[in-house]
Structure formats: structure tokens, C-alpha cells
């Protein structure tokens, strides 16, 4: 791999390089007066040649790890194979180029696909109502949180201002709740890694507006008191928000909308294979029950739109295509094999890494760094995995497990790939005894070695600036 640093594109750009031109000039049309003064200064913007641009972004791309290269076992992220047919379909100009404000006869096919997708998500989740509008999972949470606030206000309950959030929750949960003015109260998980009604009860009061609960939770553990908790919450006139990030564990197994959840978001960029794109775009539809339907973004007196236009169409058509490729039985098999793969890794790794909870797990499993020799920590194991050709698992999350290593293999991995990962982990565990320095200084094979994140925050450099001779 090339290890010469790839400088930002601006250093390949020059005013005298031939730039890209779209159309041949039309001298007659170019006489048209524009009636405004043209801007002179656009920073130091200039152009690179096509070959420079191609090489720059190709070389940069090679510094990235991607799911097409190998296992990407980030817990809670569901990094599964992104089918190519979805990409081909989404790139078809007929589906890709329409404008949401075209007269309806030109987008009838798009509307049909959106309706079918909404029906499929309703069937998978057990919710009768759906909004496809939110742009990502956290945005779906926010939409639901707004709806919950509107629901209580309509009942004259301005005093319902508290959200209960388990210590195992994703960070987006409390952040979303806070954006609608709710106060967050953290609830500790029980000793076996799931939430117990008895631990929740002291927090229950008339002020509680909702609980946000991930099921299976971020330890991969099914919340076995879910129904009891939902009932206790409902008895306090509060609502149950289910974080749907872990839907990949239970398609066709249970439907949250039928077991006490009132609203849930989907991550089309996790369970439904729309690619993650290095940090988006995502898509975060929400499903909800009849009681919340009057407050939906689309409802006449609802909360109003959370995004302009229709939502992330480019993701809808990919998810629609994925669901049709698999069918109902196939979706159930997705979850079963995701759970099988995760449990296989758990069984093979439990003698290699400490397992803080003995409770059964579904699609992911959390290890930690307790009692690793020579002060080896989770971060060292993660960075050393890179040298063995793997992306590390999610690290230091969930936050209530010290030194957590959270592994989610997904269903699209083969036993051979999982065995290679186990072999790498086993070798690293041996190195922790025999050659700890090798771990502490890892990675050794990447274009850059361990990155100084403290320096980045201390001396902020957030944009390229021309050096004096370039300016």
C-alpha cells in the first residue's frame, strides 16, 4: 500500500490547469445581460485535471477499510453486504432524477414503491402506521420524541417532561430527547445485562413521558421484561419508544408493535442494506400505533415535517429492492443467521476474551478487557486487529461496560471469515502475553500509525489554507 501522505486536493489544483467544461459556449446566448455583479473571490478555489482528480480520490479510497474487503464487525452498526443490484436500480435515471414537485403522473411509480415499502415495514414491525420522512436513525428518534411531546400536550399533560433511558442506550437517545425539552433520567441495567422492572419502578412517576429502550439491547441481550416494563410505563400514561437499531436480530421472530412498543425507528442503512457511505446518507423511517397517528409529520394537525420533501428516496428504493429479493422467509433467515454467526463467534471467543455477561445473546456480543495481561486495553486489541486485516469492533460502547468490545458479525459472513477473525483474536491474545508492546504501538501496517486525537482537539485545524506561495 502506498504510504506517501496524500495531500488535500487543493495542492493539485492550479488556476492554469485545464478545467472541466460542460457545454460549448454559445456566443449569441453569452451576450445576454445578467444584471448582477460577479463575485471575485472564492477563497483559493481552482481546478485539478481529470487524471489528478481520479488518482487523488482513488488513492484516498484505498486508505479506507470497506465491507467489500472483509468483516466489519462494528456492534450496533449492522455492517452487512450491500447488494449490487440495489445500487444498479438506484442509479437508473428514471428512478434517480425525478423532482418531488413534478405533477403526480410523473412520479406514480415512486409513490407506489414508497407505499409498498411502508407496508413492508409495517408488517415487519407490527406497527400500523408509518412515516418514511426522517433522514437517519437519530432523526427518526427526534421525530418520535416530538410526537410523544405533542401526544402528552394534547392530553393537557405539560408536566410529562421526563424520559427514562437505560444506561445501555445509544447516545442519540438522550440527545434526541433533550432536543424536545425533555429531561433524561438514566436507569441502570440489572446484573444480568437486561433491564428489570424492579430497577425501573423507583423512577416511575407521573412526570414520565416515555422510556427509550433498545431491544435486543446494546449487549445483544433480549429485554425479557419488555412486556412487563411496557405495561408499567403505560400504567403511568407514558409511552414506549423502541430503538430499532437492532432489528436485524428479530425479523419474523417478534413484532415490537404487538408486544407493547408504541413507536420505533428503522435504520434502512443497517438492516436493509443501504450502504453506509462513510457516514451517510442514512434513512430512518418510524412506525407507530394508532394513539400516536394524529401527531405524525404527515397528519393534518401533526407535528409537521421534519425534513423538506419526501425523505431519502435513494435509500427507499434500495430497501424495497432488498426486501423483495429476500421475501418474508428470507428476512426471517437473515435474522436467524445473524444470530447464529454472533453466537458462533461468542462460543469461539469466550476463552480468548473476558465475557462480562453470561446471559444469552442474539445478533451481537460484548466482551471487555478485564484482566488482560500487561495493562493491555480494548483500544490496543482493536488497533492490533487492523494489522491482521480486520476492522475493529465497536469499542468502549456500551458505556456501562468498562473497556467494552462489541462484536456484530451480521448474517452475510461465512464460517471461513469468522474463523479467520477468531484466529486473529487468538493470536492477539497470545501477543498480549508475549509481546505487549506490539499491541500498544499498533497498528503497524496502515498508511498512518496511531492517530493523535488529543492533538487534533488541542490545536484545531479544520480547513486547508493556501501556503503564502500558493495564495
Amino acid at each position: 500500500m502506498r504510504t506517501i501522505p496524500e495531500r488535500p486536493i487543493f495542492e493539485l489544483c492550479r488556476k492554469d490547469k485545464p478545467g472541466f467544461r460542460v457545454h460549448t459556449p454559445d456566443p449569441e446566448l453569452d451576450n445576454v445581460e445578467l444584471g448582477f455583479l460577479e463575485r471575485e473571490d472564492i477563497g483559493a478555489m481552482s481546478q485539478a485535471t481529470e487524471i489528478d482528480v481520479i488518482r487523488h480520490y482513488t488513492r484516498l479510497s484505498k486508505f479506507n477499510y470497506d465491507i467489500d474487503r472483509g468483516l466489519y464487525p462494528l456492534g450496533s452498526c449492522t455492517m452487512k453486504h450491500n447488494p449490487r443490484v440495489n445500487e444498479a436500480i438506484a442509479a437508473d435515471p428514471h428512478w434517480r432524477d425525478p423532482h418531488p414537485l413534478w405533477p403526480e403522473e410523473f412520479t406514480a411509480g415512486h409513490r407506489a414503491i414508497m407505499e409498498e415499502l411502508a407496508e413492508d415495514l409495517a408488517e415487519i414491525s407490527g406497527f400500523d402506521h408509518m412515516s418514511l420522512l426522517p433522514a437517519a436513525g437519530a432523526h427518526g428518534e427526534l421525530t418520535a420524541v416530538f410526537m410523544i411531546r405533542a401526544y402528552h400536550l394534547a392530553k393537557g399533560r405539560d408536566d410529562k417532561r421526563v424520559f427514562l433511558i437505560p444506561d445501555s442506550a445509544h447516545g442519540t437517545n438522550p440527545a434526541s430527547a433533550a432536543m424536545a425539552g425533555f429531561k433524561c433520567k438514566e436507569v441502570a441495567s440489572g446484573p444480568d445485562g437486561y433491564l428489570r422492572l424492579e430497577d425501573l419502578e423507583p423512577h416511575l412517576s407521573d412526570e414520565v413521558a416515555a422510556i427509550m429502550i433498545t431491544n435486543p439491547n446494546t449487549l445483544g441481550i433480549y429485554e425479557r421484561e419488555f412486556e412487563k416494563i411496557a405495561k408499567a410505563i403505560h400504567d403511568h400514561d407514558a409511552l414506549v419508544y423502541m430503538d430499532g437499531a437492532n432489528l436485524n436480530a428479530f425479523m419474523g421472530v417478534f413484532q415490537p408493535g404487538r408486544i407493547g412498543a408504541d413507536v420505533m425507528h428503522f435504520n434502512l442503512h443497517k438492516t436493509f442494506t443501504t450502504p453506509h457511505g462513510g457516514g451517510g446518507p442514512g434513512s430512518g423511517p418510524i412506525g407507530f400505533n394508532k394513539a400516536l397517528a394524529p401527531y405524525a409529520p404527515e397528519a393534518e394537525d401533526g407535528i409537521g415535517p421534519v425534513k423538506a420533501y419526501e425523505g431519502q428516496w435513494g435509500m427507499f428504493i434500495r430497501a424495497w429492492s432488498y426486501i423483495r429479493t429476500l421475501g418474508g422467509t428470507g428476512l426471517r433467515e437473515v435474522s436467524e443467521e445473524a444470530v447464529l454467526n454472533a453466537n458462533y463467534l461468542r462460543a469461539r471467543l469466550q476463552d480468548v476474551l473476558p465475557l462480562p455477561f453470561d446471559t444469552p445473546t442474539l445478533h451481537e456480543v460484548v466482551f471487555n478487557d478485564k484482566d488482560l495481561p500487561n495493562d493491555i486495553q480494548t483500544g490496543d486489541v482493536a488497533k492490533r486487529l487492523i494489522d491482521y486485516g480486520f476492522h475493529p469492533p465497536t469499542v468502549y460502547f456500551p458505556i456501562h461496560v468498562k473497556g467494552a468490545l462489541m462484536i456484530e458479525p451480521t448474517e452475510t459472513e461465512t464460517i471461513e471469515e469468522l474463523d479467520r477473525f477468531v484466529a486473529a483474536m487468538t493470536a492477539i491474545r497470545r501477543e498480549a502475553d508475549e509481546d505487549p508492546e506490539r499491541l500498544k504501538l499498533a497498528p503497524h501496517t496502515t498508511p498512518v500509525s496511531r492517530v493523535d486525537e488529543v492533538l487534533a482537539a488541542r490545536s484545531l485545524d479544520l480547513r486547508w489554507l493556501p501556503s503564502p506561495e500558493l495564495a
Binding site: I9, R21, V22, H23, D26, L29, V32, E38, R39, I42, S46, E50, Y57, L60, S61, F63, N82, V85, E87, A91, H99, P103, T107, E123, I124, A135, A136, A138, H139, F146, G171, T172, P174, A175, A177, A178, G181, R224, F226, V253, P275, H276, G278, G279, P281, A308, Y309, R324, T325, E337, L441, T446, V448, S449, V451, E453, A456, A457, D461, L462
Partner: protein, 438 residues
Amino acid sequence: MRYSGITERDRQEMLRVIGVESVEDLYRSVPQAVRMNRPLQVDGPLPEASLMRRLEEMKGPAPRVSLVGGGLYNHYVPAPVDSLAARSEWVTSYTPYQPELAQGTLVMYYEFQTYVCMLTGQELANGGMYDASTAMAEAVMMARRIRKKATDLYVSDAVHPEYRRVLDTYLQFQDDVKLHVLPVDPETGRTIVDIPTAVQRDALAIIVQSPNFFGVIEEGTAVADDAFVISVCTEAQSMALLDPLRADIAVGDMQSFGIPVQLGGPTAGFMAAKKEHVRQIPGRLVGKTKDRLGREAYCITLATREQFIRREKATSNICTSSGLMCLRASIYLSLLGKEGLQDVARQSARAAHAFSEALDEVGLKRVHDGGFFNEFVVDASARPQLWEALRASGFVMGIPLTRWWPDREHQYLVALTELHYPQIRDLIQEVKRHAHDS
């Protein structure tokens, strides 16, 4: 199941290693009472070619000509953009939490931040928002953090009406914010800022869009020098030719730079601001740093503002955003540079101005006389049948404004881009022919 590589033999071996009889046993923690006892009823499974055929059957007509803009614009996408952005290292990678395995994505965000700064004239930009509508709402939340005591928010009536609805959604539970609408001069189409300087200075923010929703360039507005301004730009191509508004926070959308319309999503919202607000800006920031051996490297920084560290005290809940769309914009801008960008922007503007003049000749007047870039409002009441007649022939001449303003009957928001530049004479001829018939 398609996409699975687990054979029956593998399955048996894996179950043996786990120490259970069946996959069913792995679900033993899920009580029977909550289980589904029937298969999921969804269409499929469909093999690849059957799926493709199904989609072919769902295709309906497409317009021949679209002059529809209103915040989303069909522009030419250079071939290298599609080619590079389809590389799986960009498409199938995660958010760059492990910088040693994501220097590509990190450098890209750093470049994107720089491009946003160059175009907006700001000092600081983040690594993208979902889109401009949510970026505008988040900008107001950010203004709330910066100007804690201020409560009066002024929004121009010429800010995109769909963005304003999104803002209303975000603000509906912030009881102390008072929203005021700044009127638009019916002649010029520009925002009238008719509030005293002292009131402006104390305001939470003044939101102005330029070119505004009616396509009119906002210039000469009486915004006080010390008012807190949030500027909005929906047609990013205009930034090639127009000086940015003075703003404390600048938001908008990069959709015009190599990102297809896609029925409105995904696009790439942006947010830029003064450097002093760095700790209040939402979303990802990528910074340059060094690796262990002192080499140049990049990583996500100031994550202590973000939800995964800061939880309920975060600047926003935003997590997955618009990475791949930011990449497309960065590639597009690198190819075109200042000259190429200004060249293509002039072609859009000239097509629009030529079209506007031609409409004028058949009695379809522009509603406003303020300067415009590539979008304008036309009053078609002189030819009340024209828009429908064109639509029936597959020519969509803009957006009827009655969608948002019932009293603006026969007014259409018309947008042209460089795609119309080489065919402008044909378009003009076609409209004139229909105009004489209607």
C-alpha cells in the same frame, strides 16, 4: 437465503460449537408469548432479473422538459463523479471512528469543510448535514446556544416555505421563541427588514435566503451590521457568481454539485460559521493532526460536542449524516474549480435570463424586478391555459405557487440550469407556439 454463505453443513458445525441443537435454541431468551407464529407477508423472493423486470413494469411516463427547481436542481453530473463515488471503499465504509482505517474518508471531509468555507466565505464548516431544511433548523438551535437570552426570531417570507415548515416543527416546543415574518417587497421581490436596528441587535437571529425562494438576489437589505444573521442558500451554483450574504451562520445544500435530485433525498446540507462558534456547531468536524510517528493524519475532532460522548448535553443528536453526498460535491468542485464553476453558473443564468425575456415577449411578465440568478416567478395570467397545455405535452414549466400561497394564482416558479443552455432556442420556440394557441 440470497446473500448468505452458510451451508447446511456449516450450520450443523456452528450449532455443535455453540452447544445447542438448533437456531431456535438461540432464541430461547425470547418468550414464546411474544413470538410471531406465521411467516412475514412481504413480496418475494425475487431473483435479480425478475426484480428488474418488476421495476420496468412500474415505470410511468417522464417529462420531456422540466423547469422545476425550488431548492432541488437538475444539473449536469460529470462522468468522473459517478465513477469515483461508486468505488466500494467510499460506498461501503462506516463513519470514520477508526482513523487509521479511514484516512480516505477523513481527508474527504476535511476537503468538504474547506470547500464550504471557500464558497460561503466563512472560517469554519462541519462535515455536512442531512439537507438544507434540517441545517436551517439546526442553525436556529445553534443560535439559541450562542444567544441564550434572545427570543425573537425573524424569518424572511422569501425563505423556502418547506424549510420554514421544518423550522416550525423544530421550534414548536421551544415556548419562549417568538417567530416574526419579514415581508417581501411585491415589486422587487426582496425582503423588507423594517425593524429598528436596536431590535435587530437583540434578536435571536434574522434568517434570509439568497437567491430567495422567488429566485431574487437579496441585496441592499437593511440588516444591521451587528444583527445575528443566518443565511440560507438552496441553489449552491449561485455561490459561484454571487457574493455570500454577511452571516454568522451560513447553511444550504450542495445538491447542485454532482448530486442527483432523487425526489429530494439524499442531498448534502452544509453549515458554516464564524470560528468562535466552533464548540456550538452540530455534526462532525474533521481535523488535521499527526500520527504516532509525527506524520500528517486526520481524525474526527471535538467529539465532546457529539451525542455519542455528550449524550443529552450534545449540540445535536445528529449521527449518520451525508458522507457519500459530500464526497460527490467535493469531486465535482475539484474538477470544475473556480473557472469551470463560474462558467457553468453563467450558462444556467443566461439560459434563465433568455427564457425570461422570451416569456416577457408573449405577455408573461416576471412578477418581481429584483435581480435573479437562474430562477424567477412568472405571472401567466395572460395565458391561463399555457401551463396545463405544456404539462400535457410533457413540458413542466415550473412549480405553481398556489401550493403555498393560494392567492398567487397563475404564478409559477421557473428554474433553468446549464442543461437547458444548449436547447434554449427550442424551448423558447415551443413555449411561444403554445402561448399563441392558449
